[in-house]
């Protein structure tokens, strides 16, 4: 049980958490990009609306990942 209270464990936990967050965000943003490219291929005339929505959704996904990264960062610092 003492293993979990070590400062080094907190560092490792922060790093692992940030890595997991990056995986999740990567999958999410990849899906958005896939969807957007497919949609633009089908309807090139709507590409501007699609691009705007793509950036917006990617920003929302990224926000969730950044929450996790901040928490991971705090685990290492505090």
């Amino acid at each position: 049980m003492d293993l979990f209270l070590l400062a080094e464990t907190a560092n490792a936990g922060g790093a692992i958490g940030a890595g997991l967050a990056a995986i999740g965000a990567g999958i999410g943003i990849g899906q958005i990009g896939k969807g957007a490219v497919e949609a633009i291929a089908r309807q090139p005339e709507a590409s501007n609306d699609i691009r705007g929505n793509m950036i917006l959704t990617a920003a929302l996904v990224e926000g969730a990942a950044l929450f996790a990264i901040i928490v991971g960062f705090l685990a290492m610092v505090l």
Binding site: L56, E62, G63, I70
Partner: protein, 384 residues
């Protein structure tokens, strides 16, 4: 038409960037190396380990002086405490933490270690009153109103920006570019303003867009100018400061609240068409989302800017980490790490624009959601 606007926006963005940042991007390599080098020399002398974490925090956090290419520029310190009154002096009076001035002292990582203070409780760059034993006196509560480097840089950035904008506004007032094509610096700003109007305000806010456009443009350019100033090597990380983004997020929150209508609150506290049992779960979630929206805005801008700065410093520090193992490895690593740094730096320029755009866009989306139901209500009233 829209595609054309997007194109002109990107042209504007990249021409600004190449004009302003081709020089600093190269200077970055030298600048960061210079600020890193004294650390390395010190390590060699004292046989200490290079602490990358400390270097990162020194660059990312707020401070009482600027470090430009190894030269430190002192900034004004304004402190108040009940016991010692209001004092104003330059931060150079502290001599980098080695001397106390007018009964106050500044903490640095060196004097925290020397005095054996608890590093969890005493942070460097904090100002304390000096006790009888020469150590910081925690019983005296000191209020620090200093113009730190974040504040000074924000004022500088705003001065530059206001001067630029006023010049452009004066030209429009004198009739240049109103009916004809924009000239000079007008061509730089006009595509950006029309982009915010046509791509952010109009689609999200509908017929009410003119009411919110001044706010959206102000937020957009305020974040943008501070992001860009933060990218100049040696400058402070203004937008990567949680206090800065928190204030922007709070203002957005107030704007969202003031533009909300009964329809919006009705959907939160009494969602229509939802069974009673589900309402017990849904209403708290909906209510929390009112606060989470601006909080996400705050964290997004903060984390994006901090992450960018940390990545650049980490890549530069790689040279010194390798250099500690072996000088040849350090030299070998430098072209690679400088190449990556320039690459990330260019991405950061894109992020500077993207984050300003996203903050404005999401504010517009949330404001639009807050008064969305209005049309239906008006239509209903017309029916009855």
């Amino acid at each position: 038409m829209c595609n054309h606007r997007f194109k002109s926006f990107t042209v504007a963005v990249f021409s600004v960037f190449f004009l302003l940042f081709a020089g600093p991007a190269l200077a970055q390599e030298h600048g960061e190396e210079h600020t890193g080098q004294p650390a390395e020399h010190k390590e060699a002398g004292h046989e200490e380990k290079l602490n990358v974490g400390e270097v990162i925090f020194e660059h990312v956090l707020d401070g009482h002086e600027f470090h430009f290419f190894g030269v430190s520029v002192p900034l004004p310190v304004l402190v108040y405490s009940k016991e010692k009154g209001f004092k104003a002096f330059m931060s150079s009076a502290f001599h980098h933490g080695t001397e106390a001035h007018e009964g106050y002292m500044i903490l640095t990582k060196h004097n925290i270690a020397e005095m054996g203070l608890d590093p969890k409780k005493f942070k460097s760059e904090d100002i304390y009153a000096v006790g009888a034993d020469g150590k910081p006196d925690t019983t005296v509560s000191v209020f620090d109103f200093s113009l730190t480097r974040n504040v000074v840089q924000m004022i500088l950035a705003l001065t530059v920006f206001v001067v630029l904008m006023l010049r452009i506004a004066k030209r429009y007032k004198s009739g240049v570019g109103v009916t004809s094509a924009p000239k000079g610096s007008q061509s730089l700003i006009e595509p950006v303003i029309t982009f915010v109007r046509d791509e952010v305000a109009k689609p999200n806010l509908g017929h009410k867009y003119e009411k919110y456009l001044p706010y959206l443009l102000t937020v957009f350019f305020f974040i943008l100018i501070n992001n860009i100033f933060g990218l100049i090597p040696g400058s402070a990380n203004v937008t990567g400061n949680i206090a800065f983004t928190a204030v922007l997020g709070l203002i957005s929150f107030v704007v969202i609240l003031f533009s909300s209508n009964s329809h919006y609150w009705g959907h939160i506290f009494n969602p229509p068409g939802v069974p009673l049992g589900v309402k017990f779960i849904l209403v708290p979630v909906e209510f929390l989302s009112v606060f989470i929206k601006p909080f996400a805005l705050i964290i997004r801008l903060f984390a994006n800017m901090v992450a960018g700065h940390i990545i650049i410093i980490c890549l530069i520090s790689l040279i010194f980490i390798f250099g500690q193992l072996n000088p040849v490895a350090g030299w070998g690593a430098s072209p690679l790490s400088i190449g990556f740094t320039v690459f990330i730096y260019l991405i950061e320029v894109l992020v500077a624009f993207l984050q300003a755009f996203i903050f404005t866009m999401l504010t517009a989306v949330f404001v639009g959601q807050a008064f969305e139901g209005e049309h239906h209500e008006e239509a209903h009233a017309a029916h009855h």
